[in-house]
Amino acid sequence: GESVGLHLPTLSVQEGDNSIINCAYSNSASDYFIWYKQESGKGPQFIIDIRSNMDKRQGQRVTVLLNKTVKHLSLQIAATQPGDSAVYFCAENPMNRDDKIIFGKGTRLHILP
């Protein structure tokens, strides 16, 4: 069935290092993927998206990589800062669906001083 999951539920990273958050998806028909950041008590905040016709997209301090062959998505955060502490969700939009996106369970990112 459709599912989006994450390899690690918790990730601890030293401040200033790069963070890599991974995500596996199972629906090969998905053609659009999004990363969201959710801080405690707040709604998910859009970080970056990527369409299935791309394999890499860069934003400010963030890069998303898409490997369709193994159905893997990753989010790289450069020079991790304390403000990056949050839960990160990958989400997918199945092709031909105008509406819902499907979220994974999330990875909590801890920044170590």
């Binding site: 999004i34 998910p44 105008d98 509406d99 996106i101 999330g106």
Partner: protein, 115 residues
């Protein structure tokens, strides 16, 4: 700011009571979505509006859940005869146009607790 606004932020109700949750989407956004988020989980889709039309309500857990968007802007999610399992954060999101392949922008949610 001009983000998605939800009210109330917190709602406590006794089992059996009816509740109404409000969402003000970003101005001009055509699409509006409701999601339910249980503790420690990712949001799960409930229903979707394109303007005032409810095009998908497949995620609504039971007929106790009802959503409307009568004028194509503000939306209300109503839960009748609340049960303890309805306790969750209810998130609203909006996007500019109809169709997928675009980011949905979320509000901060309403945390519903059923006693």
């Amino acid at each position: 700011g001009a983000g998605v606004s939800q009210s109330p932020r917190y709602k406590v109700a006794k089992r059996g009571q009816d509740v109404a949750l409000r969402c003000d989407p970003i101005s001009g956004h055509v699409s509006l979505f409701w999601y339910q988020q249980a503790l420690g989980q990712g949001p799960e889709f409930l229903t979707y509006f394109q303007n005032e039309a409810q095009l998908d309500k497949s995620g609504l857990p039971s007929d106790r859940f009802f959503a409307e968007r009568p004028e194509g802007s503000v939306s209300t999610l109503k839960i009748q005869r609340t049960q303890q399992e309805d306790s969750a954060v209810y998130l609203c999101a909006s996007s500019f146009a109809e169709g997928g392949n675009q980011p949905q922008h979320f509000g901060d949610g309403t945390r519903l607790s059923i006693l």
